[in-house]
Symmetry: C2
C-alpha cells in the first residue's frame, strides 16, 4: 500500500525536478516520476516499492517510501483506476421519487453504517445519478462511466426498467429490502417482524386489528402476507375494510386513514401502522377524536425511530436493525469485490428485528 503522509506540506522547490501541472492554484502534485528521479531509480521500481511488491530490494523499498513521504506524495486515483480498472469506489443508489431518500431515517442510517465499514476497507462512496454531465443516462451507464467497483441499491424504485437493468448487469450489486433471483441482498425480516407484532397484539386480547400498509413493494407484500397468515393461524377473521393502503412516512394520509378506521361501525381495537411516523400521526387522529391511544384504540408502529425513544407515551413498535443491515450489506459487498464464492444460501441475508414494547397497546 502507500505511504502515510501525516501532514501535507508544500513540496520544497529544491526537490522539484520537473514541471508538474498544478492541480489547484499553488498545489503542485508530486508524482511517481519525482520520486524516481529523487531516488535515482525507474518509475517501475517506485511503483513496485510503493505497492510492496516483492521484486524490489528492501533497502530500495525503504528509500522510496521515505522519499515519497518526504515529498508529500499522494497517489493519483484517476491514473490508477484508468490502468487497473479498479476505482475503490462504490456507487450508492438511493433515490426516492421525491428526492428525499436520504431523509428517511431507515435508509440514511443503513448508509451510515455501510459507509463506515466500506471506508475502513479502503472504499469510497459515490452517489449514482441518472445523468452524465447534463445529459440523461441510465443508472447502469452512470456506473460504467464512473467505473464503480460495485453498487448498493436501497430506497429506490426496484421495479423500474432502469434499476432492473442495473440489477441484471454483471456489476456487483447488493440490494437492501429487495430480493431478486441470483442476486445479493440484505433484508430486514419483515415477515417475522409483522408476525411478532401481530401475535403480541393478539396476545393482549385484540381480535379486531387494522392493518395499514405502504406502497406496493416486496416489503409491503411480506408484511401484509405475514399479517394475514398470523391472523389466520390464530383463527381470527380479517375484515378487509380494516386493511388499507397508505404511504410510508406520510403522516397526513395516515391521519386520514385513521379517521376512516375510527368511523367504522365496528371500529378496530388496534391499528398496525407501516412506520413510526404514520403511527404518531395516527395517535394524533385518535386524540383528536377524543380518545386515548393505548386505551380505546391501540397503536403499533414500525422502525424503532430513535426520535420516539423519549416521547410519551412510548410507542410499541418493531425496531429494524439498520446498523446491522448496513454492516451486512458491506460484508456482502466486500465478499463480492474479492470475488469470493458466496453460497446460494447466503445470497439473501435476513436481519433480525426486535419488538419494542411501549405503552400503546392495551391489555384487553
Amino acid at each position: 500500500m502507500y505511504i502515510i503522509v501525516s501532514e501535507s506540506k508544500p513540496v520544497p522547490e529544491s526537490v522539484r525536478t520537473r514541471d508538474t501541472a498544478e492541480r489547484f492554484e499553488g498545489v503542485l502534485m508530486v508524482s511517481i516520476k519525482d520520486i524516481a528521479q529523487a531516488c535515482g531509480v525507474s518509475t517501475a521500481t517506485v511503483s513496485k516499492a510503493l505497492n510492496n511488491r516483492n521484486d524490489v530490494n528492501p533497502a530500495t523499498r525503504e528509500r522510496v517510501q521515505e522519499t515519497a513521504k518526504a515529498l508529500g506524495y499522494l497517489p493519483n486515483a484517476m491514473a490508477r483506476a484508468l490502468k487497473t480498472n479498479r476505482t475503490y469506489n462504490i456507487g450508492i443508489l438511493m433515490v426516492d421519487k421525491a428526492d428525499r431518500g436520504l431523509q428517511h431515517y431507515f435508509f440514511s442510517s443503513i448508509l451510515d453504517s455501510f459507509k463506515v465499514v466500506m471506508e475502513r476497507n479502503g472504499y469510497d462512496l459515490t452517489f449514482i445519478s441518472s445523468q452524465i454531465g447534463r445529459q440523461a443516462y441510465s443508472y447502469y451507464e452512470h456506473c460504467l462511466y464512473r467505473n464503480v467497483d460495485g453498487v448498493l441499491a436501497a430506497c429506490v424504485d426496484f421495479e423500474s426498467d432502469d434499476v432492473q437493468s442495473l440489477l441484471g448487469s454483471s456489476l456487483p450489486v447488493v440490494s437492501v429490502d429487495y430480493i431478486k433471483d441470483g442476486k445479493y441482498s440484505v433484508a430486514s425480516d419483515n415477515a417475522r417482524g409483522t408476525e411478532m407484532v401481530t401475535e403480541y397484539a393478539i396476545g393482549r386480547g385484540h381480535k379486531r386489528i387494522a392493518f395499514l400498509f405502504g406502497e406496493n413493494s416486496q416489503v409491503t407484500d411480506a408484511r401484509k402476507n405475514a399479517f394475514l397468515e398470523t391472523m389466520k393461524a390464530h383463527d381470527l377473521e380479517t375484515d378487509e375494510r380494516l386493511i388499507l393502503q397508505g404511504k410510508y412516512l406520510h403522516p397526513e394520509i395516515s391521519y386520514k386513514l385513521t379517521q376512516q378506521l375510527l368511523a367504522e361501525p365496528e371500529r378496530p381495537t388496534c391499528i398496525l401502522y407501516p412506520d413510526d411516523i404514520c403511527a404518531v400521526a395516527g395517535m394524533t387522529a385518535i386524540r383528536d377524536a377524543g380518545m386515548t391511544p393505548g386505551k380505546e384504540v391501540s397503536v403499533v408502529g414500525y422502525d424503532g425511530h430513535p426520535v420516539l425513544r423519549m416521547m410519551g407515551p412510548h410507542l410499541t413498535t418493531i425496531r429494524q436493525d439498520t446498523e446491522r443491515i448496513g454492516i451486512r450489506a458491506a460484508e456482502t459487498m466486500l465478499r463480492l469485490l474479492q470475488k469470493q464464492e458466496i453460497p446460494e444460501s447466503e445470497r439473501v441475508s435476513f436481519v433480525d428485528v426486535q419488538l419494542l414494547e411501549g405503552e400503546t397497546v392495551a391489555q384487553l
Copy 2:
C-alpha cells in the same frame, strides 16, 4: 457534451475492431478509438465532435455522434479526469464524532437538496473519508487523491486541524453553519431565529426563560449571544442557573437538564431547547414531573423537524430552511467552480428561518 444513449446495448461483434479490455465480465467498453475507426476519422476529431467543438464539420460531428450512440459509447470518467484535472465530483465532508452525521435530519436534508442541484449541473457527490486505501490520511489529502473539484463541509468538527487544513487550502470549499474569513459559507440565521423565538416567548409574558444550548460551535455561540442580547434588550435579567449546556440531538441529557431546571427553587416558565428532539425529551420530563408542557412550563424547540408536524401538542419551534441551505450551498459551489468572482459581501449567505407557532408556549 456527450451523446445520449437511451439504452445500453451489447456492442455488436461486427463493429468491434480491436480488443478492448472487459471492464466487467462480458462488458466490453467502446472507446473513442472504436468510433474513430468506424467513422474513418482520427480520435482527435471524434473527441472534438463529441465535445461539440467548432473545428469539426457539422456533417462529421453528426456522423460521429450517431456512431457513438449506435455503439453504446460511454465516456471514461477516469481518462478524462486524468487529462483535464476535472472530475465533476464534489467531496462531501459530513462526519460527526459518532459516525452518525447522515442521520441528523438537518444535515441529511441539506445534503439531499445540495445533491439534486449539483447533479442537475453534471456533478456527482463522493464522501470524503480520512483514509486512502487502508491507511490514515487527512481529509485534504483524500480530496487531492480523489481529485474532487470542490468540497461541501457540514456537520463536522470544524475546529480540528484536519478540517482547518482543508478550509485553508486552495480547494473550493463551501461550509455550512461555519464562517471563516475569506472562505465561503451558507449559514442558517441562528441569531435571528433565536431572537425571534425569545421575543415570542417574552411577548407571551414570559420573563424567567431557560436556555439550553448544545456543544461549543459557532452555531451555539450565535444562538447564545442572541438569546442574551434579546433578553437584555427587553430589560430582562438572565439567571445563569437557567443557562445550561446540553448536547444537540441528545434526548437523555435534555431530559436530565429539564429535571434539573424544574427542581430550581424559582423554576423557569419557559425553556428554549437546542433542537426539537431535545424539546420532545424535555416535554416528557415535564409530564413525568406531573405538569403539562405548554401550561405550567412552556417549551420551544429548534429545527422544525417534520416528524413533529403531526404530533400533538404541536411544538413551537424555529424551522430551519434546510432545502434552501442546500440549494444556496450548491449555487455558491457552482459559482466557485466556474471561477466566478464572488463579491466579499456574498461570501457568507444567511438563510432565513421561520417561527412555527404551536401550542407549547403558554400566554401568561
